[in-house]
């Protein structure tokens, strides 16, 4: 049972308006049967300091990743996780988080791997909700566990692996990291600790569009026109392109994936979650050092 869509005029500009709700809409719809609100933050303690009433927490680190292999949870793990948080297969899931919905977009992308149909982002996320003085609480939500079926995780349509990237050369790649990481000067965002990649730089031919450029100063998504100017104007994407986005571990690029797929309507967008931590450590893959994209090698 799907909860009604947010008819906000801003959203109707986007390719898939059904993927966003506004803070006003959410405030009016809290408690609606069939709606589950999820908070997913970069700081894993932030939810505990106060969250939207009734919202459940999804911890990107402990809830969505396999604890042993470098992979996401599988069918059984996702079913157990979602069920425990009161999410059914037909729930409308609205996800929000800190830092321009960075990790919220990551959670949404993982829900999409499992084909969860109705999953939306709160435009502006946690920051906008709080800036507007809306209610937050530290009370734990009253959870009724749900029965979520074990569904196959379908990686192919929206997830790229290293081999897919090597075969993709000649088609557009978007590197959503900071300019310093893109050039190879740094291995992590400025002000973050350096992460262990053995080489710095970027995948040849990738355009550099730092992910946060898609967000306005109030953490909402920029307008369709502004996004078109960035991704089509500056980065040179054209309608119908098959695009792969990547960052360091695939979280920032989930945000760009959302923008390209749901706001700008690119049908074939994949997120390479192996990203720089894999590519910068892999043996015999091509790398470009410096701020120029460089030529795409022959696909292999």
């Amino acid at each position: 049972m799907s909860v009604e869509l947010d008819p906000a005029p801003k959203f109707s500009e986007y390719a898939h308006p059904e993927r966003l709700v506004s803070t006003e809409w959410l405030a009016e719809h809290l408690g609606t049967p069939g709606l589950v609100v999820v908070e997913s933050d970069e700081d894993v303690l932030l939810y505990e300091t106060g969250h939207i009433p009734g919202a459940v927490k999804i911890d990107w680190h402990t809830d969505l990743n396999d604890p042993v292999e470098r992979d996401f949870i599988g069918s059984a793990g996702f079913a157990a996780m979602a069920g425990a948080k009161g999410i059914s297969r037909d729930s409308t899931v609205v996800i929000y988080g800190d830092k321009n919905n960075w990790w919220a977009a990551y959670a949404l992308w993982i829900f999409t791997l499992f084909g969860h149909e109705d999953v939306r982002l709160l435009d502006g996320g946690r920051d906008k909700w709080i800036a507007e003085g809306r209610e937050v609480t530290t009370d734990a939500p009253q959870l009724t566990p749900a029965d979520y079926p074990e569904v196959e995780r379908k990686d192919a349509p929206i997830r790229a692996f290293k081999e897919d990237v090597l075969a993709h050369f000649g088609s557009p790649l978007v590197d959503v990291r900071s300019p310093e990481e893109y050039s190879g000067e740094r291995l992590h965002m400025p002000a973050y600790p350096e992460e262990g990649a053995l080489r710095g730089g970027h995948i040849p031919s990738a355009a550099n569009v730092p992910w946060g450029r898609a967000a306005a100063s109030d953490a909402t998504f920029k307008s369709r026109d502004e996004l078109e100017a960035i991704y089509k104007g500056e980065a040179g994407l054209t309608d119908g392109d098959d695009v792969i986005a990547y960052c360091r571990i695939g979280e920032r690029s989930s945000h760009t994936w959302f923008v390209l797929k749901h706001l700008l309507g690119f049908e074939n967008v994949r997120n390479y979650d192996g990203s720089w931590v894999e590519w910068g450590n892999a043996v015999r893959v091509p790398i470009v050092f410096g701020s120029e994209p460089g030529q795409a090698p022959a696909p292999r």
Partner: protein, 154 residues
């Protein structure tokens, strides 16, 4: 005779570590949140002196620290971190409480891998734990620098 540089976990930090390890994973986060809420406000004499504070750039949010050494050689760590970064505040609070009043030598002897020993690497990502390691390293560096100054001045 034992070499003086051997690492020893001071009693207060050992107690904090044992408190964390005694809890199941989820409750460790709750305890970290308690520490986060307990991070003391700066004493009045430092509130107007942001110039004294050093940014811990390895942390994912703006954290600033200042180490004070009393005339009797005891150490006090002061830290500021935003409310929106409870994890980082928690780390700073553990160190501020755990090393308060220790001697310079006792602080320098804290094992550098103390942050890895308190049972948070599962609940909080290893990357974030590195921020706490940097907090400890910068604290020690400030102490060494200040002690060096005092020695050369004397």
């Amino acid at each position: 005779m034992e070499v003086m540089t051997s690492s020893t976990v001071p009693a207060a930090l050992a107690e904090i570590r044992d408190d964390f390890l005694a809890l199941p994973q989820k409750e460790r986060l709750t305890l970290l949140l308690e520490f986060s809420n307990e991070l003391p406000e700066l004493p009045e004499r430092y509130q107007e002196h942001p110039d004294l504070f050093e940014r811990v750039v390895e942390c994912q949010s703006p954290v600033y620290i200042f180490v004070e050494i009393d005339d009797d050689d005891s150490v006090h760590l002061y830290a500021t971190a935003p409310r929106e970064s409870p994890t980082t505040r928690g780390f700073a609070s553990i160190l501020a409480q755990g090393l308060d009043g220790l001697s310079v030598d006792e602080v320098l002897a804290i094992p550098d891998d103390y942050p890895q020993s308190i049972g948070l690497t599962e609940a909080v990502s290893p990357l974030r734990i590195r921020g706490m390691t940097a907090l400890l390293a910068r604290t020690k560096r400030q102490i060494r620098a200040r002690r060096g100054d005092a020695a050369s001045a004397g």
